[in-house]
């Protein structure tokens, strides 16, 4: 099994073997993060830049820690301080950063597909940390890693993805990844937030949360992106929470081995009630721990392929 990709732009472009290699590699890196000395020299002398045009704490810190634990040097650039606020284009900003001999750029941008522009226009490796509503591959990979840890496999698992599917890059990446690895995915959410033709991605659609909870091994609750709700997709937050929010009463009707995941940040009381978010079935913090391991694996693999 060898890795042949210079970039990680999405799980759509990866094969099942690629995804399995990342998950396998991440196991070793999880062990590294559990040591007293949490650092290995694998990427010594490499420079990794995080270039974020959208707010993020968890993902950016996770990537930064991942790079640092591999001994790479890191640099963080946030959009509000970058030159794009002075009118520079995305590609120009990135090219200028690259001109300082950067080896990899971890990019988050509000435009779907923006990472492709960078991958084509730059020589360094690009890792997608979320592009618009399209993909957020490392989030899906850490979700899959967590599932594999919990169940020992992904093949045959029944996974529910709950919430705003329309705007969710996490949902899309998870659908690509999980279906490639043989899981059965059901998406559930308000019909206004359900993309038309989503079934073509190989998933089932169900509008009844209780049924999904009952039928699933794990559910991924998505964050309701309040910043993307200005177009009146929902009558009210309260109604959303009543129909699609997960609380302990609804969980009690489902199997006790069901696990609840969330990519964060959680709107407590909206998609998850506080007792569920902090409850026994929640693996939210384990997901965060696994995120560093998965991102270490991605950086290690992506920076390994020779750039022609």
């Amino acid at each position: 099994m060898t890795w042949k990709h210079k970039h990680l732009l999405g799980l759509q472009d990866l094969s099942r073997q690629d995804i399995e290699l990342i998950l396998e590699t991440a196991k070793s890196f999880k062990e590294v993060s559990s040591r007293d000395i949490k650092k290995v020299p694998a990427l010594r002398g490499k420079t990794v830049v995080t270039l974020f045009f959208e707010a993020s704490t968890r993902t950016r810190i996770s990537f930064e820690l991942a790079a640092k634990r591999l001994s790479a040097d890191t640099l963080n650039i946030a959009s509000n301080v970058s030159s794009t606020s002075k009118g520079e284009t995305l590609l120009d900003t990135a090219r200028n950063i690259e001109a300082m001999n950067v080896d990899a750029m971890v990019v988050r941008h509000s435009l779907s597909g923006s990472v492709f522009i960078l991958a084509e226009g730059l020589k360094c490796s690009i890792v997608n940390a979320g592009d618009g509503c399209r993909e957020h591959p490392t989030q899906a990979l850490l979700d899959m890693f967590t599932l594999q840890e919990k169940f020992g496999r992904i093949e045959g698992l029944k996974i529910g993805i709950i919430g705003d599917i329309l705007h969710s890059r996490v949902a899309r990446s998870n659908i690509w990844g999980l279906t490639k690895l043989g899981a059965r995915v059901t998406v559930c959410g308000p019909s206004t937030l359900m993309p038309r033709g989503i079934e073509q991605m190989g998933v089932e659609v169900c509008y009844d949360l209780k049924k999904v909870l009952k039928d699933s091994d794990a559910v991924i609750a998505l964050r309701l992106q309040k910043e993307r709700q200005q177009d009146k997709f929902l009558p009210s937050m309260r109604e959303y929470s009543r129909l699609f929010g997960i609380n302990q009463a609804k969980l009690n009707e489902a199997s006790s081995h069901l696990i609840v995941m969330h990519p964060g940040p959680t709107n407590r009381g909206v998609e998850l009630s506080a007792d569920v978010a902090d409850g026994k079935q929640s693996v939210i913090l384990e997901q965060v721990t696994n995120g560093v391991a998965v991102r270490m694996a991605v950086l290690y693999l992506v920076l390994g392929t020779k750039t022609e």
Binding site: M1, T2, W3, K4, L21, E24, T25, K27, S28, F29, E31, V32, R35, D36, I37, K39, V40, P41, A42, G45, L70, A297, Y300, L301, G304, T305, K306
Partner: protein
């Protein structure tokens, strides 16, 4: 291409047995002793040495597994990254006498990487090296403390250690031209 069998199952068994005796001869009560096998075949050899030590002295010596991939000095030179596998050392190595175990001792670069990896886990009192085959051609000032067999080779030759547990075939050591 010619293949020469330089050690068979019995020779390997006797070598491991002798090395276990030598290790115990130098460290009688084996109280602070621990073995760390370097993936892949060093692990198998470390398991066999641990079992032999148990059979001789009745002591359970802790054993760890080391994957040195992330510490290699040629990571930036190879075209595709080698597959990383897990390291597992579930005891504190600080103050211990650690014996690193590997199958073939060649340039010494694997051992250098292993030393770097090991000190990230703590500060052992002593680190020693046990190898099944020493084929010469060192590129670094490193030597082995316990050697199963010295096999003179040319640099171009390939030495292959086959072990039942890792390869699913009868034990042997082969020199390939």
């Amino acid at each position: 291409m010619s293949l020469v069998k330089v050690m068979d199952q019995e020779a390997i068994r006797r070598s491991i047995q002798r090395m276990a005796h030598e290790i115990l001869e130098k460290d009688k009560d084996a109280k602070k002793l621990a073995l760390v096998g370097i993936r892949t075949r060093g692990v198998v050899l470390a398991q066999r040495l641990t079992a032999a030590i148990k059979a001789i002295e009745g002591v359970d010596v802790p054993m760890g597994i080391l994957d040195i991939t992330l510490y290699r000095d040629d990571l930036t030179l190879v075209a595709t990254k080698p597959v990383v596998r897990q390291t597992s050392i579930d005891f504190d190595i600080s103050g211990m006498k650690i014996i690193l175990v590997d199958d073939v001792f060649f340039t010494g670069r694997t051992i250098r990487a292993a030393l770097d990896a090991l000190v990230d886990f703590g500060r052992p009192a002593v680190i020693q090296l046990a190898v099944l085959v020493d084929r010469g051609h060192r590129e670094l000032p490193i030597r082995a403390d316990f050697v199963g067999k010295n096999i003179p080779t040319s640099k171009e030759q390939n030495v292959q250690v086959i072990l039942d547990e890792s390869d699913g075939k009868a034990d042997e050591v082969i020199v390939e031209d």
